[in-house]
Structures are given as C-alpha cells and as structure tokens.
Amino acid sequence: MKKITKIFLSFVTLFFLLSGISFSDNIKIGTEGAYPPWNAKDASGKLIGFEVDLAMELCKITGDTCSIVEQDWDGMIPALQAGKFDAIMAGMSITDERKQKINFSQGYADEVASFASLKKSNIKLGGLKSLSLADIDGKEQKTLDTIKKTLEGKIVGVQSGTIFQNFLKSGLVGKVNVWTYKTQDEVNLDLSSGRIDLSLAAAVATTDYNSKAGNVLKLVGPTFSGGVFGNGVGIGLRKNDTKLLNSFNSAIDTARKKGIIKKLAIKHFGFDASM
C-alpha cells in the first residue's frame, strides 16, 4: 500500500508541475515554428528562425522578459484574442482584413509571394518579374490574365488562412481549385509528390525548402506584393493593447537604426528583407 501511495503522490506532483495556469506577468510571443526561415524548430526541439531571434532582440530593447509560445497557424489570431499570448511574430503580413480584428506594429520585414512548381513541370505564368497589386496597368493585367488561363484545371496548394489563400480566392486570377494545408511543410510535401500542380507561398519559404530538399522545386511567374498581399510583416497585437503596441513600435525603430533587423535578415534569408 505504501508503494501505491508513493506512486500516487509523485503522480500528483508531476501533474501540477506540468500544469500551468498563468496570470500573465511576462510578455508571451506566439509563433508557428513551422515556417522556415521566418520561424521553425530544430532537432533539439528549440524554436529558431528570423523572428525568434528578432523577438529576443526587441525584448532586450524594451527591457521586458519575453517567452516564445508555439501555436498552429490556423488558430493564431483566435489564440491571441483568447489571451494564450500577447503578440504574434509569425511571418504575418499586415492586411486590411486582419486589421479589423487586431492591431499591427509597423512592419519589420518585407515579404514577396511566388508560385512554385516541380522543377520538371513546364507551367509558365507570364514574363513579368514582379507584380504589385497596388497599381495594375496593362502589363500587369495581361500577366494576371495569363495566370488565370494557366490555372484553369490546375490544383494550387496554400497554407490555410494566409494571404496566399486570400489572393487565390479574390477572383483576380479567376476561380481557382485551391487545396488548403495546415503548414507550409505539408504544402511543400504535396507539391514535391506531385499531388498538386502549384503552390503559392512566400518566395523565401519555397527557396528554403528547396535548398534542404535537393532542389526539386522552382519558382514560377512573377513575385507578388501589395493589395491583398499586405504591406510587409509586422507584430500582431490585441486591439486594446496600445501600451505594447507603442513599446514594440519604438523598439523596431531602435532595432532598425542599429542595423539589427538587417543583420538578422541577412543571416536567415540571405538578403536584406528588413523594412
């Protein structure tokens, strides 16, 4: 009987050690941990990536103690609102749609989107190098029409709840057969296996995957920005949390001035994506 009591007591202790109800005193930052090079997880289970490093630098500047919390992308904004964490740094672009629900700090990095296909695929999406949805002229419209025609009967994979999904649903490129995935990793897996014809994602996310997976993919068509693609990547915050908003905004200013953002961008992206 004594043994059982001992087992039971250690069980209860462990239970309370693992359980946590916290009354937020430090700042928790939510990230996905599955969107390299923005944020990811390494083989020791540690969160890594551009935003993880940047978050630590920003907190150093504001003098706060911060911790980073892992959260699946599709529940990122609801989890912020439910108080699971206080800020989002997860490659989240600043868009009007999201601004209705949450606040954004100023942007800290730029992101362009691009379609990708298998290397051996012969899909072509017009000759333009980059396309801003902010001003669509004849040349841009022609490319969009080409894309619209090419996408007919094709399957395009995107991570669910992203600007890439919004773009494909916007009607700018017609009615597209879109498959949505929980993570970008899954999109890349299905693109590599040939289940889907194209993916639409941040160009760096595809390049990063490609460099690790033996160059099976390639980017096709122009890089996209503006419009539904938003205006850069910023920190997502709760609407009523103006104190945190101000402190992050000034921290980003400082980090930019000191060249910290630029340095981290070059380290993780290979080029200066800071803004």
Partner: protein
C-alpha cells in the same frame, strides 16, 4: 537510424520525452475522467429527473461530438470562460491555461463520458438485493457502499475501463493541435523538418502499439487478480 539519434542532431531524445508526455497526459485524462464518471454515474442513476437530464446531456454531448472539436472549444473558449469568471471577482488581466492542462481536461472529460457509461453498466449488473443488504447487516449506508458495492462494481468494470483507457490513450494524439509536444506533435514536427513523414509516423505507430499492448496486458492481469481473490 541517425534520424533517431539522441542529442542535437537526431530526434530520438525528443520522441522519447514526447512519449512520456503522451503517457502522462493519458493517465491524467483517464483519472480526471474517472472522477467525472463517479459523479455523473450517480446523476444518471438518480431518481431525480433533472439530475438524470444533466447526466444524459453530459454523456451524449461528449460521446457524440468529435474529440477534435471539443479540444478546440476548450482551447479557445477555456481561457475566456475563466477570464469571464475572474472578472466577476475583480481580476481584469489575462489568464492562460497551458496546453498540458487544456489537453488533460478536455480529453479527461471525454474519457469521463465513456467511463460513466461503463460504471453505470457495472452498477446495474450488480444484484439489486445487495443494495438492501446494508440495513440487514446494520452497516451505515456509505460504509456499505464503499466496502461491499464499490469493489464489485470495479471488478465488473475492469474489462470495459480497459477499453476506455485505450480510447483515451489514442485520443491524446489529437491534443497535438493545442501545441502540446506529445508523441504525435513531435512526429509531426520531425517529419516536417526532415521531410520524412513515412518514417516518423510509422515509428509513432509502433510506439502507440507498444503502449496499447502493454496496457492491455496490465488490465488483463488486473482482471485476473480480482476475479480469483
């Protein structure tokens, strides 16, 4: 094999740790469920209509709605519900319940709905005349219940509780959506990072099989012990 190496390069130590989390969250959920079951089984067997009603609502909802939805509800709604209550008491900040507790409670409540049915079946299977035995022996009712009825109910319930345990253990794989790094999520992360889903999911399947097999053996032993002594 180097995928499973321990240390910084491989995923062996992470998967081992995640397996312990799986076992532990399953045990916690099973016990939480059992506590719920002992309460709700009395509701279901009570002569009072409204208690019956509450008991039936509980078992119907938690056995009829997909586990995934219930976990999401607890995950997104749990903190808000607690914050709502704490606001009444004057605390105005954010309260966050961690993934382990969210998982253990949501799976526990589901597990409890199944356990309630198991206990109900076991109590109903006991000879009715036994309940009148208390007066005959001059024992206090609750003493009689604890010493005579409970062991019999448990003995009758063991085979089906074993099934509930298996369900609970497998349900823990769904907690991965809350961010708790248990076996399923760790395999998910590892397969995403190494682009080798086949290996990691097969490996996870083998671990789950080992866990279910061992627990089955344990319950069989328990059953034998209580049937002979």
């Amino acid at each position: 094999m180097e995928l499973l190496a321990f240390g910084d390069q491989g995923w062996g130590d992470e998967i081992l740790r995640a397996t312990f989390i799986t076992i532990f969250v399953a045990l916690s959920a099973f016990l939480i469920g059992f506590i719920f079951a002992t309460l709700f089984v009395f509701f279901k067997l009570s002569k009072k209509k409204y208690l019956n009603f509450i008991g039936n609502i509980y078992t119907t909802i938690f056995r009829g709605v997909p586990e995934l939805l219930i976990i999401y509800l607890f995950f997104f709604g749990g903190s808000s519900a607690i914050m709502f209550v704490s606001k009444i008491f004057g605390y105005d900040g954010y309260i966050e319940i961690n993934a382990f507790l969210t998982g253990a409670i949501s799976i526990g409540i589901i597990s409890g709905a199944y356990s309630t049915e198991v206990l109900r079946g076991a109590i109903l299977a006991i000879d009715k005349s036994q309940f009148e035995g208390a007066q005959a022996l001059g024992m206090k009712r609750y003493v009689y219940f604890l010493k005579v009825i409970t062991p019999q109910v448990l003995r009758l319930a063991i085979p089906n509780l074993s099934n509930v345990w298996q369900i609970t253990l497998k349900d823990t794989s769904l907690i991965s959506v809350t961010g708790l790094v248990e076996l399923m999520r760790q395999s998910y992360i590892a397969s995403g990072s190494t682009r080798n889903p086949l290996f990691f999911y097969l490996f996870a399947a083998v671990i789950y099989l080992i866990l279910t097999t061992f627990s089955l053996k344990f319950f069989n032993r328990l059953e034998k012990r209580y049937n002979f002594s």
